[in-house]
Symmetry: none
Subunit: 153 residues, 2 copies
Amino acid sequence: MGSLADFIEAYLKELLSGAPEGIIEIRRRELADQFRCVPSQINYVLETRFPFEKGYLIESRRGGGGYIRIMRLDWRTEEDLFSELSLLIGDAIGSEKAEELLVRLVEGRILAPREAALIRGLVEQSIGAVVAQQQDELRATLLRNMLIVTLRG
Amino acid sequence: MGSLADFIEAYLKELLSGAPEGIIEIRRRELADQFRCVPSQINYVLETRFPFEKGYLIESRRGGGGYIRIMRLDWRTEEDLFSELSLLIGDAIGSEKAEELLVRLVEGRILAPREAALIRGLVEQSIGAVVAQQQDELRATLLRNMLIVTLRG
DNA sequence: CTGACTTTGACCTTATCTGACCTTTGTCTT
DNA sequence: AAGACAAAGGTCAGATAAGGTCAAAGTCAG
């Protein structure tokens, strides 16, 4: 235990925990030098350890004065809920299943009725933009993302 | 972290925010001296940070007594905002345009930086679910929906 | 020994900065 | 009035400085 990626992850999380806004900025090259690895290793860590689904947002800029910014979205609920949600939603979900899930979340007081309505509206409206074949996949992605941002502070 | 261009941009925006009409005038040579750079660097900043799409107009005059005037275009009423938003977003929007719009909304104090980051993340993340061809359309739909929801509180 | 996770490196795209050279405008001289 | 000169600003190509992508190679637990 303790791959290089783990160390870099730990280091970044350490920095994040000391950042008042939950936002840090790094320079890829510097960090790579610090850990004696190639720069793309940093991207690997970001992709695997700080993805959107785990509650992080990444922004970056190239060119002179470039940087990578990592933002942590704060939790309002426990992590278990999210992993279960991801599991329930999966890669694709039909509208009936999605509706069932939303109802259950409202009943379980996880979502306020208004929030559920909002999410339902957003998801179903946005789905019109895509051909039928892909609708279930898109619904899954949207639903998951919306729930994550709604349930996070 | 911040490139020279970032500093000049910040300085000009500072000036602009203190200008009652949202209009300032500078002299290229002076500003370049102030930041110890070549004059053309100023043009670079103007082109990249204050283009029309981001809500600015530039006027200038050469020769003795020359100047560069920067004007910020504001959204005066909520109606302006919404109609221009739907105009700007349209049926399809590429990621660069979407980004410009979000930045402009933040600068115009219409969106908080975190809200913009969240919307950006949500939209771009969700887009992965569909084929490239449809991405611009989906981006437009999502962006419009999210902005409407966010701005209506 | 196999599949998932890591690590690396070659190649790509984008942003910034500078300097040489060009155009426009104002002013002064004759 | 014409021409010369000075004082601005404009353009563009090239050098430099980041970060991104992707596939191949390495590693390790089961």
